[in-house]
């Protein structure tokens, strides 16, 4: 073919992924996510360590075989602290993502199913919400309701349903024009029944994907709020409070209490994004073929 001088490269698609590297990416992501889940579920009860125990003699030890991530300014093992922090951050992230997804799916489905002026007003409200920066709105809510686990969950959840609402609305609108929905309506099904039985199940994969992608985002926001001193209380180890607590050590030149909690945010985020990308290709294969051209 005449165009082969430049075409094969672009034919590999997004990220230049061949089938092998794509499979490798999915499996390594799955391995990391499994490891994270096992670590936060199994390690704390099995190891049964007192993560808060202070050992002033061991303070600020650099990474070693005994303490792979080193110790913090009161001698607590950072690997243990990071696992406990990840546990709290993951829990907050998952609950906030569920809140955001439920609100977003309900709003999006309501707008699309009702149509007309309800749709217009609801989507205008979504635009209004989208005009306030997420973190600022989150900061405002937390400031007014005082920092704590629930204000953080609510503030992250209530600021992140917008994209889900838009996705769900678009999906419901596209499903509504399908013949089987017409058939259900002409068969005399009520609007409620059509929405719940015929439209929502078709939306669930997209909403689920949005929810999964929301988890790292929610963790990011929780850690940002906690870092600013507006999130979880400082004695509660979360990834954000760990970075916040490490600031004084960092200014004294000790990098490890800052570095490792950050890696605990980045690595699971990349793994979840890797898995979600594979999922998206499964439920929406056209997207990939468009990119592959």
């Amino acid at each position: 073919m005449a165009e082969t001088t430049w075409r094969p490269a672009s034919a590999r698609g997004a990220g230049g992924a061949t089938a092998t590297t794509r499979a490798w990416r999915v499996w390594s992501s799955a391995a990391i996510v499994t490891a994270v889940v096992l670590a936060v579920l199994v390690v704390p009860p099995v190891v049964n360590l007192d993560e808060q125990a202070v050992h002033l003699a061991d303070k600020l030890l650099p990474p070693s075989w005994e303490h792979p991530f080193g110790t913090d300014d009161v001698g607590r093992d950072l690997l243990v602290r990071c696992v406990y922090g990840l546990r709290v951050s993951l829990l907050v992230g998952i609950v906030a993502a569920v809140v955001a997804t439920v609100v977003g799916t309900a709003v999006g489905a309501l707008a699309a199913a009702c149509g007309g002026w309800v749709d217009r007003i609801v989507m205008r409200l979504v635009d209004v919400f989208a005009s306030v920066p997420h973190l600022l709105l989150g900061i405002f809510i937390v400031a007014m309701f005082r920092p704590g686990v629930w204000p953080v969950v609510i503030s992250v959840g209530l600021t992140h349903w917008l994209s889900t609402a838009r996705i769900v609305r678009a999906e419901v609108l596209s499903l509504r024009s399908r013949p089987y929905v017409d058939a259900a309506i002409s068969g005399g099904a009520s609007r409620w029944r059509v929405t719940v039985r015929h439209l929502l199940p078709g939306v669930l994969p997209q909403a689920g994907l949005a929810a999964v992608l929301m988890v790292p985002h929610a963790i990011w926001h929780e850690s940002a709020l906690s870092f600013l001193g507006l999130g979880l209380p400082t004695h509660q180890a979360s990834l954000g409070t760990l970075v916040q607590g490490a600031r004084s050590s960092l200014l004294a030149g000790d990098w490890w209490p800052t570095l490792f909690p950050g890696l605990f945010i980045i690595v699971p985020t990349l793994a979840i994004a890797g898995l979600a990308g594979a999922w998206r290709e499964r439920i929406n294969p056209r997207r990939r073929s468009e990119l592959m051209l």
Partner: protein
């Protein structure tokens, strides 16, 4: 063009009204009590009569809508109330700080756009090549990294280990005047970190846009005419590939504000974003309300800018459509 600006402005008014009302509604629903906040520890021992008097003086005995309306009418006359944390009128506090924030954000954004375009085009040139893989992986990793963490590590490396840049603030502590050289050296690190935190998104979109454009007919035609690869890449692919990116530039203002909130806090930059965090910590409602409205206005302005840029870059788009 005037019509487009006019339409955006008309949309902006109800948005700002709703957002400010929402701010008052959230405050109303929260346990926060402006009277107790104003009175401080004295409020614990004050008599109910005094508290009621104070409540009336502060104008917070009115219902929600009345308080919002009072705030709105005086805000339109330039009076945004007094900040309890900064002990000065909110308008003055914002006026003093907003310039530094704009300087930081604008520098970072320009750096992110220039560097992002360059990296994106380089990556798009050979999709799947080693450069593309490196750039894409780096972009995804940086996207996942919290800006405050990047800021802290950058501070450790450049200010503490290498000792080439100051760790924070606007000027050296010994200095009493604000000089250009001082500000530049203090700006470098926070601006670089903010730029790096905005970079991934930009690189990925430019890469996608230019990559797609490289497969389009104009590029094929240009290649068929035997034009140099450089010309094809920069004049044909880059220009059309940047169109989808341009529309999104203005919509990045919220992320820029989010990044500035974190970076200003890390580097003690005397901007408006760091003041927001301080206001939130001590529940300084007048300052928070004004800053939320200001941030919303900035976002709306960004949207307008995106529309205008798009029209300038793509002659097919009419402003009066």
């Amino acid at each position: 063009m005037a019509r487009l600006v006019g339409r955006r402005a008309v949309f902006a008014v109800p948005v700002l009204l709703l957002v400010t009302f929402g701010v008052f509604a959230v405050a109303d629903a929260s346990p926060f009590d402006p009277v107790k906040a104003y009175a401080g520890t004295a409020g614990l021992t004050a008599s109910q009569e005094n508290l009621d008097q104070l409540r009336a003086n502060l104008g917070v005995d009115k219902p929600l809508v009345g308080r919002w309306w009072d705030w709105l009418t005086s805000a339109l006359q330039g009076d945004l109330g007094d900040s309890s944390t900064l002990r000065q009128p909110v308008a003055d506090a914002i006026g003093e700080r907003v310039g530094w924030s704009v300087l930081l954000a604008a520098t970072a954004f320009v750096v992110a756009i220039l560097l992002g375009s360059a990296l994106g085009v380089l990556a798009a040139r050979r999709p799947g090549g080693w450069l593309d893989r490196c750039v894409t992986s780096l972009a995804y990793t940086l996207e996942a990294a919290p800006p405050f963490w990047l800021g802290l590590l950058a501070m450790w490396l450049f200010a503490l280990k290498l000792d080439v840049l100051p760790a924070g603030g606007l000027t050296d502590t010994a200095s009493t005047t604000v000089t250009f050289g001082q500000v530049t050296s203090h700006l470098a690190l926070p601006a670089a970190v903010l730029a790096v935190s905005q970079l991934p998104w930009f690189v990925l979109y430019v890469r996608q846009g230019v990559g797609d454009a490289l497969g389009d007919d104009p590029v094929r035609g240009a290649r068929a005419r035997g034009l140099a690869e450089r010309t094809v890449l920069l004049h044909h692919a880059f220009r059309s590939g940047m169109l989808p990116v341009l529309t999104l530039i203005g919509s990045r203002v919220p992320e820029l504000i989010t990044g500035a909130l974190l970076v200003e806090t890390v580097f003690s930059w005397p901007g408006i974003a760091a003041a927001t965090v301080g206001a939130a910590t001590s529940v300084d409602f007048p300052l928070l309300a004004a800053l939320t409205a200001l941030a919303t206005a900035a976002v709306l302005l960004g949207n307008l800018l995106a529309d205008l840029l798009y029209g300038l870059a793509d002659p097919r788009v009419g402003f009066d459509g």
